[in-house]
């Protein structure tokens, strides 16, 4: 029944075109007039000696050169300028223009718009903004400031360290280009302006609700003593290996499974933050009516890590990550059990950057304890597959909080 690894049936959702090596003919076809997007075809296996193959390789290579050779310039009308203030680690915008400011930057109480370094690099790189060095007093006349424009390289050199590292900028730019609204996690910001947010982002301290299940330990315990126990088991009091299901009369399998449960105390909670595993960005899906003053709770929490200095997070690091994220409300919970287990009550997206290649992985707090499967046979007369009923063991414990 398993397809032992070799399967062509990739789920649509798992195909990511960005995984493929870029064929620049796509781009050339778009920029040329009347060009159409070539269809994705078979990949070539090896050089086959045909002109057809070598010609298309040449075409693709030339298309890449053409694309790279295009001169990038600012259009006069929408020229936006800003000044980089290294002391503050922010860029001051002179005049706001364009749609990007709807979801970028933040204005102080004087109405001056400030950009974070990643916002600045992003805008400079796509040619939407020109950045200048801070006015330096002129040598001859103190009153005349000299405005020196910054090259793209200069912007990178001057501001990258303020972004928290290249990996963070790469993830920021990737998400922005995909259309998302991205702001920094307000925790631990160096500038007061970006510490204040207009939405609730921290979990209401119902601290680690999932583990409350264990409050029911008492119920399980009482079940043990309450049910009819045979003389055989009482003779084995004090036995460390007393069978969990002693011989007896059981009317349902759920009754037996309840006895198999091992109550566990909550896993240790991490108190202090971690250097690597913490929420870097708050991310919102693109929406036309987005207001940066009142964005509402973020759709995703993204943690940027680099393969250079991290490995798979430890239990404590995972606990720490989840600890900072609010849980979804009961009403928003998916109805389907598998979906509920896969999405969990909260999740964090890890953006793992491996020398420029970003893989996004969603880590979800699954809590299998909250979803016991049905163990008793489906009602008589059921044909074929049993209806996908919802778990909630007959005993019914372990659900309520």
């Amino acid at each position: 029944m398993e397809t032992d690894g070799v399967s062509g049936g990739l789920e649509d959702v798992d195909i990511d075109l960005s995984d493929e090596t870029q064929d620049f003919r796509f781009l050339a076809a778009l920029t040329k007039k009347g060009g159409s997007i070539p269809k994705r075809g078979e990949k070539d296996f090896e050089p086959d000696g045909t002109n057809l193959q070598s010609n298309s390789l040449d075409d693709s290579r030339n298309a890449m050169f053409e694309a790279l050779a295009v001169e990038r310039m600012h259009t006069g009308k929408n020229r936006v300028t800003a000044t980089w203030h290294p002391s503050r680690g922010l860029a001051k915008v002179h005049t706001q223009r364009g749609v990007l400011f709807k979801s970028m930057g933040r204005a102080d109480k004087f109405g001056t718009m400030w950009l974070l370094p990643e916002e600045l690099i992003y805008m400079v790189e796509r040619g939407s903004l020109e950045c200048f060095y801070e006015d330096t007093p002129g040598v001859i006349d103190e009153s005349i400031g000299i405005n020196v424009p910054m090259s793209v390289q200069a912007v990178y050199a001057a501001t990258l360290e303020f972004t928290g590292g290249l990996e963070r900028y790469q993830v920021y730019a990737n998400l922005r280009r995909s259309g998302y609204v991205v702001y920094r996690n307000p925790d631990g910001q160096y500038d007061e302006l970006f510490k204040t947010v207009g939405y609730e982002y921290k979990p209401v301290d119902k601290s680690n609700q999932g583990w409350r299940v264990w409050g029911l330990v008492g119920i399980f315990g009482s079940l043990f003593t309450q049910t009819f126990q045979s003389g055989w088991t009482s003779a084995r009091q004090g036995d460390p290996f007393r069978p969990m299901i002693p011989p007896g009369a059981y009317r349902t399998y759920a009754e037996m499974y309840t006895r198999l449960l091992v109550p566990r105390p909550p896993a240790p909670k991490r108190i202090e933050g971690d250097a690597h595993f913490n929420v870097t960005f708050h991310v919102w899906k693109p929406r036309p009516n987005f207001k940066k003053s009142a964005p509402g709770p973020p759709d995703f929490h993204v943690c940027v890590v680099s393969t250079k200095d991290t490995r798979l997070p430890s239990l404590l690091q995972v606990e720490g990550l989840f600890g900072g994220i609010p849980e979804t409300e009961d009403s928003e919970k998916p109805k389907n059990m598998f979906m509920a287990l896969k999405d969990g009550r909260r999740g964090v997206i890890l953006a793992v950057v491996d020398y420029g290649v970003i893989s996004f992985m969603k880590f979800s707090d699954s809590r299998f304890m909250d979803h016991k499967l049905d163990v008793d046979p489906p009602p008589k007369g059921a044909k074929g597959k049993a209806p996908a009923r919802n778990f909630q063991a007959k005993g019914g414990q372990g659900k309520k909080r």
Binding site: M1, E2, G5, V6, G8, G9, E11, V13, D14, T50, L52, N174, G179, F228, Q237, G238, P240, F241, R242, P243, M244, I245, P247, A249, Y250, R251, Y253, L260, V262, P263, R264, P265, A267, P268, D274, P286, F300, T307, R311, L312, P313, S314, L315, V318, G344, D354, S359, F360, M361, K362, S364, D365, S366, M369, K372, V375, P377, P378, K385, A386
Partner: protein, 473 residues
């Protein structure tokens, strides 16, 4: 497994499974109705106007009959396979049917080797097994790939020819694009994918479009002393035609009617041919150490002996034995002490996870084929595909060990890649391992084993690839 249509119901020796006469597909809801090899107690019907019945009921209510553990099965620990082997056919069948315990040592899951072997040798009483269906699918795929390679080669020749012509004719055909028939290849690709997705439908009966019945191989009587005891009732030459007739009750449902007619026309004189073969069973049901310990300690329906002794081992001895044999090569005798237990051992960590998911109702199987530790099935492998692949991540927060000693990211990427191709979700199961001090004295406490297990704290994290382009709504 899902393709096991007919397999469990058709074994001649142990044909206890109810087979429905109408459909060839057995009713798995009935065969696998019990999730544990333990018997439920059903109160007799109450007759309200009969005082005796009421008294009887009251009596039963307070003193119900102790009948849950009717059968205690026996397995033997094997130091060679480092597992527990069950050979009694009744026990093998029960343990598989009631909770999917173990695996046939020569099969992919349910023990079907005997059936396969009998069919291979031409026994007409045995139905098709899941392994055969898989094999057919793979053969088909192989043929498809061959065909694709042929088409690709043809296309390449065509292009080369055209280009050669162009060189000769010069300007005559210059500028004319060479048309490549990529469609053929794509079609084949789709067909291949179709094969896979068809195989992925667990509930669907298998309709194979291409009649690729396995030819019955000629009988090889080379190794009679080595377990094969052939005893054909009819001459072998007739059997080679692939004896399938309409009247044969256990004829595989998959044989297309066309083939049957063909046989009837050409070999009508020989049909129905009945052939019986005796094969010595070479297969056993193999329980992993975790399965065996669960059945013995938690459920209490299994006794385990060792070679050269019929006396079942005490659970404490069993634990010791299993801890020693949970690594390779195994730890020497008397290197493991129950009272001075080191909780950081592979058996207890694996068992804590195994027990955790079993107790929540999942059927837990080893996942080595998918590069994970466990696979989790809802209800069991004949009903659904495994939805989750479990990776056990031991964690040492109580040991004061330094952080960031986890696995590398590329390790995780390769595993999620493999599992997304078979539509499974990878589950990281963190196990917070207690220290020796945390569990000290557990073996003197009442229910100490349970308390010991409780010290292994478990947290599940589901992994999913997240693609920016597909989460914008």
């Amino acid at each position: 497994m899902a393709e096991a249509s007919g397999s469990s119901a058709s074994a001649p020796g142990n044909n206890t499974a109810p087979s429905t006469p109408k459909s060839k597909r057995p009713n798995y809801n009935i065969i696998h109705a019990n999730p544990l090899p333990v018997v439920l107690y059903h109160a007799p019907p109450l007759i309200p106007h009969n005082p005796l019945s009421i008294i009887h009921h009251l009596y039963l209510f307070f003193f119900p009959p102790i009948n849950s553990h009717k059968i205690i099965y026996t397995g033997m620990f094997s130091p060679v396979t480092m597992s527990v082997e069950v050979r009694d056919p009744k026990a093998v069948l029960d343990l598989w049917q009631k909770g999917f315990w173990g695996k046939g040592s020569l099969s992919r899951s349910e023990p079907t080797w005997l059936n396969r072997e009998m069919r291979r040798l031409g026994d007409t009483r045995v139905g098709e097994t899941s392994e055969e269906i898989t094999r057919k699918r793979r053969d088909q795929r192989k043929e498809m790939k061959k065909e694709r390679a042929r088409k690709e080669k043809e296309e390449l020749e065509k292009v080369k020819e055209a280009e050669a012509d162009k060189n000769i004719n010069g300007a005559a055909t210059n500028g004319k694009p060479i048309v490549v028939d990529a469609k053929v290849v794509v079609d084949l690709e789709e067909e291949l994918n179709g094969l896979d997705s068809a195989a992925n439908q667990p509930g669907e009966p298998h309709k194979l479009s291409v009649p690729l019945g396995l030819p019955t191989p000629p009988l090889s009587v080379t190794d009679e002393s080595d377990g094969l005891d052939l005893e054909a009732k009819t001459s072998t030459s007739k059997v080679e035609a692939g004896p399938v007739s309409d009247s044969e009750p256990s004829a595989p449902a998959l044989q297309p009617a066309k083939v049957v007619r063909f046989d009837a026309n050409t070999t009508s004189k020989e049909i129905p041919v009945e052939k019986h073969v005796n094969v010595k069973e070479q297969e056993h049901l193999q329980l992993t150490l975790c399965e065996a310990f669960f059945l013995t300690y938690a459920v209490g329906v299994l006794e385990i002996t060792t070679q050269g002794s019929s006396e079942p081992l005490a659970v404490s001895k069993l634990l010791e034995l299993f801890i020693r044999h949970s690594c390779f090569p195994p730890l020497p005798e008397s290197s493991v002490s129950i009272s001075a237990l080191n909780p950081d051992n592979a058996f207890l960590i694996n068992y804590a996870v195994y027990h955790h998911f079993r107790s929540l109702g999942w059927v837990v199987k080893l996942g080595v084929k998918f590069s994970v530790d466990y696979l989790l099935y809802k209800r069991g492998p004949v009903f659904t595909h495994a939805e989750f692949g479990v990776l056990i991540i031991p964690s040492y927060s109580r040991w004061g060990r330094e952080e960031n000693v986890g696995k590398e990211w590329h390790w995780l990427h390769s595993i999620t890649r493999v599992n997304s191709q078979v539509k499974k979700t990878v589950l990281l199961v963190y196990v917070d391992v207690p220290t020796a001090d945390d569990v000290k004295g557990w073996d003197t406490k009442h229910d100490g084993m349970k308390a010991l297990l409780a010290e292994y704290r478990i947290r599940e994290v589901a992994l999913r690839r997240w693609i920016p382009g597909r989460n914008r709504d």
